[in-house]
């Protein structure tokens, strides 16, 4: 829609352009992958609500590609509970209370547990993971997440031998979120247990060295970089280990368009558009999309012998 909606972002919340430029320069010189979060926040905006910076360690799993601007990462979001326009979540997600927050881990586990968000953040050392993010809509970003492997959490609860899948349910509060049944709320996602235990799979609690803004899925979200973005569920409240493959929100909405696996795959088109190329946000021309979003070396073995056209 072209009709302009009122902007409720305070000028003080917007990064002065000069600072922003310096951040980029700083990053390029130091090598993005090597910078710890402590240094990262220097030229970054102090978000009025959640400026808490996080102590992080760099990770060998990070990409060294140039980062997508902080502003784009935090204002161009799909978080349908807060509206279906990309700019809606940044406007509306501030209503969500993210502290206190409890994450319940249940199902086929030896030690079901409830984690407070602060407790969760101390479960494992926080790492900065700079990942490519490829949206099923054909755009992509490079985002410096802060988080820890989902495997660290699962180890705490001791999955039973019968557990085959991990279901993730996200926060839904009709009082502050959309009541139109665009998707079957609460938003549910799922992974196979081996996918969930893969070292690339993380629970993120921050981005750009700071606590996650609400529109990016505060206080805790999943990040699975080799799958389309919608698999990376935001604002998670329940993680449930199951024997059966869990139902997932987009798969329920359009099963022929969004499969359970949803691995980034340029060879399998979405029924309505090609997935062969993508537009990296901030760039003009499209670039080719890579199998498994460029993480094939790490994850292709998980799908050996599977027909990825069938299990899309």
């Amino acid at each position: 829609m072209l009709i302009q909606k009122p902007r409720d972002i305070l000028p003080s919340e917007i990064t002065p352009h000069g600072l922003f430029e310096r951040r980029r320069e700083f990053l390029t010189r130091s090598g993005a992958g090597l910078i710890a979060g402590t240094a990262l926040w220097h030229g970054l905006p102090a978000d009025a609500r959640a400026a808490a910076k996080l102590q992080t360690a760099p990770s060998a799993l990070s990409t060294t590609e140039p980062l997508t601007d902080y502003k784009a990462v935090t204002t161009y979001n799909n978080f349908y509970e807060f509206g279906t326009d990309k700019s809606d979540p940044a406007r509306n997600a501030g209503r969500m209370e993210v502290r206190p927050w409890t994450l319940t881990v249940e199902g086929l586990v030896g030690k079901p547990r409830r984690f407070d968000i602060d407790e969760l953040q101390k479960l494992a050392p926080l790492e900065e993971r700079i990942y490519r993010m490829r949206c099923v809509e054909g755009w992509s970003m490079v985002i410096p997440w802060v988080g820890f492997p989902l495997a660290a959490l699962l180890k705490e609860v001791e999955p039973l031998g019968s557990a085959k899948y991990v279901e993730l349910l996200t926060h839904y509060d009709p009082a502050i979120m959309s009541r139109r049944p665009v998707l079957d709320w609460p938003y549910g996602e799922g992974l196979r247990l081996d996918e969930a235990l893969h070292p690339l799979t993380i629970l993120a609690v921050g981005v750009y060295g700071e606590v996650l803004p609400n529109q990016n899925g505060a206080p805790v979200r999943l990040v699975v970089p080799w799958k389309y973005g919608f698999k990376s569920a935001k604002s998670i409240v329940t993680i449930r280990l199951t024997e059966e493959q869990p139902a997932t929100a987009w798969n329920k909405a359009a099963p022929e368009e969004y499969g359970f696996y949803s691995n980034v795959n340029p060879a399998v088109s979405h029924p309505r558009w090609s997935q062969a190329t993508e537009r990296r946000i901030g760039e003009l021309r499209k670039r080719p999309t890579l199998p498994f979003n460029g993480y094939a070396d790490q994850v292709a073995s998980l799908y050996q012998g599977m027909d990825l056209k069938k299990f899309y």
Binding site: L2, V182, S274
Partner: protein, 227 residues
């Protein structure tokens, strides 16, 4: 300059046309300025693609609203704005198509051909644009004279079909939330529905009127099929 709303003077009509011309240009100017100022969000190409397409659809519906509005209000001069509104619909559609070819696909003809052949929402969008071309080409007095009024009118009735195809194009594009295309569909249904209703009224009227005496009979354009 006459201030009469019913029968405005030629100067008033000309002024009005100039005002409408500028107003119709504003969305394009707004987008161009936004592009210059980098104020179209994180994905400006997506923004202008969407906006140009939506404006094409809006102008199609505005054009289709002229006849019902004219009939409801009795302001017959509204008809004099219709050609410009229709041509704006075409201009925004052409911009939409050009943005797709250039900024979205960068003239990757292979990908464009696959899109048009394999992706139904692009197939129908492309069809709507192609069907608009003859209408734009015949939107001048010379073409009306050459084709003759009746032929020209039946050609331009394809606008109804084009508007339906354009709404389908939008509907098939959205991922899950069909609210916006549904609103356009409702407006279009009202605009076409009122025409169908008036036509039905006219059919009944013609059926109920006894044929005039032989010496008074003149050729009439009948819309009731001959028995």
């Amino acid at each position: 300059m006459s201030l009469s709303l019913r029968t405005p003077s030629a100067t008033a009509i000309a002024t009005l046309k100039a005002i409408v011309f500028v107003l119709c240009l504003l969305p394009a100017v707004n987008l161009a300025l936004g592009w210059q100022a980098d104020a179209l969000g994180a994905n400006p190409i997506e923004t202008i693609t969407r906006a140009s397409g939506e404006w094409a659809l809006r102008f199609l519906l505005i054009t289709l609203a002229v006849t019902p509005l004219r009939r409801l209000t009795g302001l017959h001069w509204l008809l004099r704005l219709r050609r410009m509104l229709g041509l704006y619909a075409f201009a925004y559609a052409a911009a939409h198509f050009a943005i797709y070819l250039w900024l979205d696909q960068f003239f990757d003809w292979g990908a464009i051909a696959r899109d048009i052949l394999e992706r139904p929402f692009i197939t129908v969008g492309f069809a709507a644009f192609v069907l608009l071309i003859p209408l734009a080409a015949t939107s001048n007095s010379f073409a009306i004279r050459r084709l003759g009024g009746r032929k020209w009118q039946s050609l331009h009735r394809s606008t109804y079909a084009i508007a339906i195809i354009a709404v389908v194009h939008f509907w098939w594009l959205v991922k899950a939330d069909v609210l916006e295309p549904a609103i356009y569909a409702l407006i279009l249904a009202a605009l076409l529905g009122v025409r169908a209703w008036w036509r039905e009224l006219e059919r009944r009227r013609q059926l109920s009127v006894p044929p005039p005496a032989k010496h008074l009979q003149r050729p009439v354009i009948r819309i009731v099929p001959r028995q």
